[in-house]
């Protein structure tokens, strides 16, 4: 797939656009539809597209697994930390009114931080999940071949060169 010039060129144009749109959804969530969850997924899809089109190694080069793990934890920490900041400033847990002198401005800041935490966690989880599945060797075709071969060797009498001694002796018994 990654030899197709059309797909390569189109994704080179699309990837930065997708990332910009993800940031827009992230930071414009107060005013329009959107927020951390959606923005995280959109932002991650740019990295997924990169990994699908240009290969897993390039993908891992752009967003390394160690960095990814740190980002997953950091997002939750930003969220929880915003809550604890409210506690430290004589408010309740996750009380944004006390973050700044003006309660409404404090709410704005709190929502922005919290949404950022959600977006960071969701984006890195999505990239991480994809890498976790896709960087394992594909067993699909291999397993299928093995299954059919096992099926053949159990039903047909003709021995295949790769079958083990045990199955050959079984077949001998069947022939008798």
């Amino acid at each position: 797939m990654h030899d197709d010039p059309v797909i390569r060129v189109v994704s080179k144009v699309l990837i930065p656009t997708i990332m910009l749109f993800g940031l827009y959804v992230q930071f414009h969530g107060d005013y329009g539809p959107g927020g951390g969850f959606q923005a995280g997924v959109i932002f991650a899809s740019a990295f997924l597209l990169n990994a699908i089109v240009f290969g897993m190694n390039k993908g891992r080069h752009v967003w390394s697994p160690a960095f990814n793990l740190q980002c997953i934890a950091l997002g939750v920490l930003v969220y929880g930390g915003t809550g604890i900041a409210g506690l430290l400033l004589d408010g309740n847990f996750l009380d944004f009114n006390v973050l700044l002198a003006n309660p409404v401005a404090g709410q704005h800041l709190g929502i922005l931080l919290v949404e950022f935490g959600v977006g960071l966690t969701v984006a890195s989880v999505m990239v991480g999940l994809f890498f976790a599945f896709a960087s394992r060797p594909a067993h699909n075709r291999l397993m299928h071949q093995e299954d059919t071969r096992l099926l053949k060797s159990s039903t047909e009498a003709t021995a295949e060169p790769t079958t083990t001694g045990a199955s050959v002796s079984k077949k001998g018994e069947v022939k008798k």
């Binding site: 107060d30 927020g35 899809s45 997002g75 939750v76 809550g83 989880v125």
Partner: protein, 182 residues
């Protein structure tokens, strides 16, 4: 009245896609069908004026989960085994479906102003969030401020799910060490 036609069309489309996904035995087809199901569902959410939900459904359901399911498909066999229908399983699922239909009849009608969801905290959110939070998108102020504790829980769930997947599929984070090194 126009909206009824659109609703009915989308519902019929959802049902057709659902039945096709159940009938389909090639898992690749099932994944593509479930992606298109999410896309139609997102369209329907737009009709219901739930733009944020539609956004999530389109991005998560139709987008990323399709890709994740395809990545999973590379690890497993691509065909579902054909099995005869078991009578017990059929009875249980039909029974559960009938119970659900019974429960739906007890729910308040759509757009009913006296429904519990519209008389509890909803009026407060709609009336006061402009002064209290000052964010034009009420969905965001409910999700991030009024119901912030729930959203923290959701984020932790996402975190925990990812950590458990990494524990099961270990070995992708580091390069494989040679035996004498370990």
């Amino acid at each position: 009245m126009n909206f009824f036609v659109v609703d009915a069309f989308l519902m019929v489309l959802l049902t057709i896609i659902g039945v096709m996904a159940v009938k389909q035995h090639r898992l690749f087809g099932v994944i593509i069908l479930s992606g298109s199901y999410s896309l139609v569902a997102a369209t329907w959410f737009v009709v219901l004026d739930a733009v944020d939900v539609a956004f999530t459904e389109a991005a998560v359901g139709a987008g990323v989960s399709t890709v994740l399911a395809l990545a999973t498909l590379s690890q497993v066999r691509s065909n579902e085994k054909k099995r005869p229908i078991e009578p017990l399983a059929l009875t249980v699922s039909i029974g559960a479906g009938l119970l659900l239909l019974l429960a739906v009849m007890d729910m308040p009608l759509f757009k009913d102003p006296s429904a519990p969801v519209h008389v509890h905290v909803g009026p407060h959110y709609i009336g006061e969030s402009g002064a209290e939070i000052g964010v034009p998108n009420i969905v965001t102020s409910v999700l991030a401020s009024y119901r912030s504790f729930d959203t923290l829980g959701e984020t932790v769930v996402v975190f925990a799910a990812a950590v458990s997947v990494f524990l099961v599929l270990a070995g992708w984070t580091r390069k494989r060490k040679s035996k004498d090194e370990a």
